[in-house]
Amino acid sequence: MTKIGYFPGCSLNGTAKEYDLSLQAIARIADIELVELDDWNCCGATAAHSLNSTLAVALPARNLAIAEKMGLDEILVPCAACFSRLAQARYEIKSDEKYRTKIPQLIEMEIKGTANPITVLDFLNKYALDKIKDKLYNKLNAKFACYYGCLLTRPEHLSTIERREDPLVMEKIIYLSGGMPIDWAFKVECCGAGLSVVRTDIVGKLCAKILDDAQSRGADAIIVACPMCHSNLDMRRNEINKNLSTDNEIPVVYITQIIGLALGIDPKKLGFDKHFVPTDKFLHKLQKQTVEV
């Protein structure tokens, strides 16, 4: 059984429970053990790096150090924001002498940078897909707009994605899961991420464009791989709709939930009931067609 470190971060324990549920379900079917880091802490996300650059490295570095201590070479970090922080911390420690000496003192732990954070897309491609390929029997007759946002594709030195300006990894996974990915214009646009709380108005505007384009190109759902993107596009829907002439009702779901559906897992177990924008119409459409197929 493959063993990989797991850093759920704050979101996957709370607002993004469905992401965690669906990811764990896939891991089980793929026979991969996700080893949660002992006593992990907040990655620092937006707050730390806008205030104190050392703290912004120290917080995620502690998680890296824990993984090292546990003998883990790779850590699955499903949240794109957490991933970005952990990867950046590793990058700083590897490239900057200043941090190499200072950080171990601050966190009172040794750190070499041997544990490598990976995104959910890396995880799916590298470990999971091969093992579950044959079990993806549910054809998903719907159109999906795959949305990457910023932190999976930027900055250049951290991104593990090919064709960063016009990526196709999620599209390939959707296609493999029997869905129809669509070509659209806003897949790497910013959703406003960290401004969700303080400047909801900006988030509303940015997300309105994203949702509008997806809708005008006939998407049935938006696929994400980041709880930040998800909460902005899903939870802020009222604020978003203020910027649109008609209410946009496209559900926003995690890529892992879609794979879960393709694997035939009960939508409830995948957390489809936990979204703000209702998913029942979407699920209904899928089910009707799955029966027909």
Partner: protein, 666 residues
């Protein structure tokens, strides 16, 4: 006994501000073998040189050490002075006190001490210097110009007009290069073809120029003054001597839908074609990759209609061997195309075009006869967005350099559009406006102020299509960094200028170096910008780095002057600092041959008087050897040495450093 003179230069304050020059001269006077030593403010000046000359004669010096700047700067000066005083110039050496000492250290006792040590090392070396004499090689006074763009044309005409023969090799069916494709040219907006075509004709008619079009370089051997070049004349399938250029064949050719290279893919051409109406030569070639006769063995229409019986399907590639004394590489450049940009649609939007395509649309001889019509539906655009630095100055795209020409041609494009459509909306997104050059900034200002082009400082993050319009999303970094969105009917990308795809291959054939981006390297970025590191091979135009026409033409004329200067001699004089083989110890393993980067090592058979072979040894071709010393390091029997840098000389320098003694308490 050695009688060495030491001359310490202050280099104004360059050296004397951190090194005590008088002290160095004083210490040096105590070195064994030194009979004279002195310091002076400017040793390279006339009085400075006279100091050296007088001392050589008065003190009967057998060696000279000038402690001054880099030998790259003034070695020729001091060697000449030495020679003028009657001493062999190669008995003069330079200690580099400026770059190696004064410029890189603070003023301290140890700085002066280091300077004195540098002098001592050279004193020990010069004791082992031998008299050397320049090498003479004959010169073939014919130049080869590779590439028939404006760079190659200018160089060829200048050389030919000086009375020397020129062979020009152009890989396309016509000469002219990119300039032939341009509509109008900055900063004067004069018609490109009108100023270019007369020169193209001049090349074709010049009695001193032999032109090979549709031809490529197969191989290059030899060395400066004596290159042996093989040219591959690709089969044109048309006998150009018989052909009258009537064009009937082109009219009748049934294959007419081949994307036209000259029109940057915006038009079509036939399988038998002349690239453009003003082409030189103005006679067709058959594109065998697209001709039905060559693909399927059928058709033959052109042969049937040709009144001059000029079509020869059976023609084959021909290898032509020529001897030349100098080579000018003038192979120009290429640009990235719109399919290089994922954020701008990877080339999927027909109306997102590159700069050359815009030139063709704006050109009176172009596919739209100069009316600006967009490629997708032929409508005349009302709003055009121009994006500068598309790919350039973007390390993430692998092109960190500035393409240099695009700021200017973007201003030109915006202007041309506004001149054709006064009510049109022209928007330029830029990072910086780089308009250094005579009348260049004025040109850009004219676009902004008189022609009302809207310049927005910021990058474009994305282009997408919506309701038949191209939506250009960018940022205005001067207006509070606000995101801006512009609806456009057409977008023109000023895509990065890059090296030709075959430039690496050509550089290897020529044995010249190239930079990480495959542009050819000049011998020195400032002082030898037209020569390469391989003697006898020079550069002209954009094959060295992106360049506009004035810069290309200047460099081409500079290159021509270098070639003509070379041809002004009957024999070539070269510094004799090259490798030589000791035949007695050479065992003929030829390891050296495999490492010599200049292919300068040949085989020589040593025979007895009766003709029986004793052994085969390495022989250095003095014309090719650049004295790099790679062979010396590799020779297992220590049979190769470099004149001027012999092992003995180098050992003398090294052991001088190890046997440090106090010559005066510094």
């Amino acid at each position: 006994m050695a009688r060495i003179g030491v001359f310490v230069c202050h280099c104004g304050e360059n050296i004397s501000s951190t090194v005590d020059c008088a002290k160095v001269a004083e210490i040096a006077s105590n070195y064994p073998g030194v009979v004279y030593s002195i310091d002076y403010k400017y040793m390279c000046s006339d009085p400075g040189q006279n100091l050296i000359k007088e001392a050589i004669q008065k003190h009967k010096l057998t060696g000279v050490v000038v402690a001054a700047c880099s030998p790259r700067m003034h070695e020729p000066t001091f060697r000449k002075a030495t020679a003028e005083a009657g001493l062999n110039p190669f008995l003069c050496e330079m200690a580099n006190l400026r770059e190696h000492c004064s410029w890189v250290h603070f003023r301290e006792d140890s700085t002066t001490e280091k300077a004195a040590e540098l002098v001592r090392v050279l004193v020990e070396k010069v004791k082992h210097n031998e008299e050397l004499f320049p090498i003479k090689v004959p010169i073939t006074k014919t130049a080869l110009v590779i590439g028939g763009g404006i760079g190659g044309i200018q160089a060829a005409l200048d050389i030919a007009n000086s009375g020397h023969k020129v062979i020009m090799v152009e890989k396309n069916p016509s000469i002219g290069g990119k300039m032939a494709q341009l509509s109008e040219t900055f900063p004067t907006l004069d018609c490109s073809q009108c100023i270019l075509t007369p020169r193209m004709v001049e090349v074709a008619q010049h009695p001193n120029i032999t032109l090979y079009t549709y031809a490529e370089i197969e191989s290059v051997d030899g060395f400066i003054g004596n290159f042996k070049v093989t040219i591959r004349q690709k089969a044109k399938s048309v006998d150009h001597k018989a052909c009258t250029g009537c064009g009937l064949c082109i009219e009748k050719c049934p294959i007419k839908k081949i994307p036209d290279e000259f029109n940057a893919g915006l038009g079509n051409r036939a399988a038998i074609y002349v690239p453009f109406p003003q082409a030189v030569p103005n006679k067709p070639v058959i594109d065998r990759n697209n001709c039905t006769y060559f693909l399927k063995g059928k058709c033959g229409l052109c042969k049937k209609v040709c009144p001059a019986d000029a079509i020869h399907y059976e023609q084959e590639d021909e290898l032509i061997k020529v001897d030349v004394g100098a080579i000018v590489a003038a192979t120009g450049f290429d640009i990235k195309h719109s399919d290089f940009f994922p954020e701008y649609g990877y080339g999927k939007y027909a109306d997102v075009i590159d700069g050359l395509q815009f030139e063709r649309l704006a050109s009176a001889s172009g596919p739209t006869l100069g009316v600006l019509k967009r490629p997708s539906d032929g409508k005349e655009p009302e709003s055009i967005v121009f994006i500068a630095c598309a790919g350039s100055r973007d390390p993430a795209k692998g092109i960190p350099y500035c393409s240099k020409i695009c700021c200017m041609y973007t201003a030109k494009h915006a202007m041309l559009f506004k001149h054709k459509n006064h009510h049109g909306k022209a928007t330029v997104f830029y990072m910086d406006i780089r308009a250094g050059g005579k009348m260049y900034d004025e040109f850009v200002r004219r676009a902004i102020e008189e022609d009302d082009v809207n310049y927005i400082r910021g990058r474009v993050s994305r282009i997408y299509e919506k309701n038949g319009k191209l939506i250009v999303c960018g940022v205005d970094t001067l207006l509070n960094s606000r995101p801006v969105e512009i609806e456009a009917d057409m977008v023109v990308l000023a895509t990065a200028a890059i090296a030709n795809s075959d430039s690496e291959e050509l550089a290897q054939k020529l044995h010249i170096s190239y930079d990480p981006y495959h542009f050819f390297s000049e011998a020195h970025p400032k002082l030898r910008p037209v020569e390469t590191n391989t003697a006898g091979i020079m550069l002209a135009g954009a094959c060295q780095a992106p360049k506009d026409i004035p810069d290309t033409v200047s460099q081409a004329s500079g290159t021509a002057a270098k070639v003509v200067a070379l041809f002004s001699q009957d024999e070539l004089t070269r510094e004799p600092l090259i490798a030589y083989v000791n035949n007695n110890t050479c065992v003929g393993c030829f390891l050296c041959q495999s490492v010599c980067p200049y292919l300068a090592i040949e085989k020589e058979e040593i025979r007895r008087r009766d003709g029986t072979l004793v052994k085969t040894v390495a022989k250095i071709n003095p014309g090719l050897c650049q004295g790099c010393g790679t062979c010396v390091a590799l020779c297992r029997s220590k049979s190769i040495d470099i004149h001027g840098y012999t092992n003995r000389q180098i050992y003398a320098e090294v052991s001088a450093l190890f046997n440090r003694r106090e010559y005066a308490g510094v």
